[in-house]
Subunit: 222 residues, 2 copies
């Protein structure tokens, strides 16, 4: 039996296509979802389980890092900070940045992967077509690879795989479609939980990606 691979699955478009790629490469997958009091937490968890069901993944871990809510500092978790109007071309770091969030996600993935004997951690991070978060860049993931080498047992052989890191959203949509990924089960909106708002950064990036790919987004917008 091959070593399993851990796949970080938020429930959004990018993590869905990443799971599809991991599923092509691997037999055994372990899905990790991290929740931290963000506005759409329940909706994302629902999407996570639907994606796990689709890929018949039984090994699932839902980790709660609710302390991020207490730390605050982001419009995604602190209701007193307004969520900025969407701007898919912004260059500064937006108010939705959750300080150093991806380090928490990767630390959890690494601990779990070490116990499972996994060799890879799949992460659906996207550098160029993303929202300018510093912890979403390839440099950050390469640096985290070194941290894993330094901070785990000598026999642990583990690296971070970011198959989408240099892709544009439209390429991600096309890749997902080609792999038969269940894009209709995903949730990307930062704001709403029933019908996507179509106006936050995440919705705008997603809609533009589908439009440029020439494919209709299968989820409902308000």
């Amino acid at each position: 039996m091959s070593n399993p691979a851990v796949c970080l699955v938020s429930g959004g478009l990018d993590s869905c296509v990443t799971a599809a790629i991991a599923s092509e490469n691997r037999n055994r997958l372990a899905f990790l979802h991290v929740t931290y009091g963000q506005i759409t937490a329940d909706r994302e968890l629902h999407a996570f389980h639907e994606l796990a069901d689709f890929y018949e993944v039984t090994k699932r871990l839902v980790a709660d890092i609710g302390y991020l809510e207490e730390i605050g500092g982001s419009a995604l978790i602190d209701r007193s900070i307004p969520l900025p109007a969407g701007d898919p071309d912004r260059t500064e770091i937006p108010a939705s940045y959750v300080p150093f969030r991806n380090a928490h996600l990767l630390a959890i993935a690494t601990s779990w992967a070490e116990v499972l004997g996994a060799r890879q951690i799949y992460v659906g991070a996207v550098e160029e077509d993303s929202s300018g978060y510093p912890d979403c860049r390839l440099d950050f993931f390469r640096c985290f690879d070194k941290l894993i080498d330094t901070g785990t047992k000598p026999e642990t052989q583990l690296s971070i795989v970011t198959p989408l890191i240099k892709m544009k959203k439209s390429q991600i949509v096309l890749r997902g479609q080609a792999l038969g990924a269940p894009l209709h089960l995903t949730w990307s909106c930062y704001r709403n939980v029933q019908r996507a708002c179509g106006q936050c950064d995440s919705c705008l990036l997603r809609l533009r990606g589908f439009e440029q790919a020439g494919i209709k987004d299968p989820i409902a917008y308000s």
Copy 2:
């Protein structure tokens, strides 16, 4: 007003002396305690608050990373793995190793520090006189410094300070005494919550440290 410093305080001897050093260097401290379902969690939290009271630290964050218990893989959190008999001279990684634990602690400290505008994170890690954990070595902390540089906002100026990293336990005891640190309020035992067992790795290292320092350990042993 100077920038605050975040200090990781488990409630043990090393974190107490680290807090004493941070207190010498700084006016404003923020104490962070991380709990993860370890056997002595409540006792350690009690020690944390007593130390915070002693140093008159009002800014306190207690972060629960209970998901580590679900991940398992360590005798400290998985009751089905026996806690090894103490051996302060062991060289292999003991069963009490919690996979990649310090990465979680530092990720939380970094997120909090970024929101607070702190410049330092104090950690009471000890390399030589420790238990052989890979995530307790200076290399690991230097690597984490790079991760912070890479993964936080450009304006965030933050580094990890490990004042005890090259010290022996006896030197830590002496330093604590010289600084008037409240060593009687600390808790180190992995096993017990009333009187320390005197037999686990942590107790043996502590007792040997006091013995070599020529000082009587002020806490009660069974």
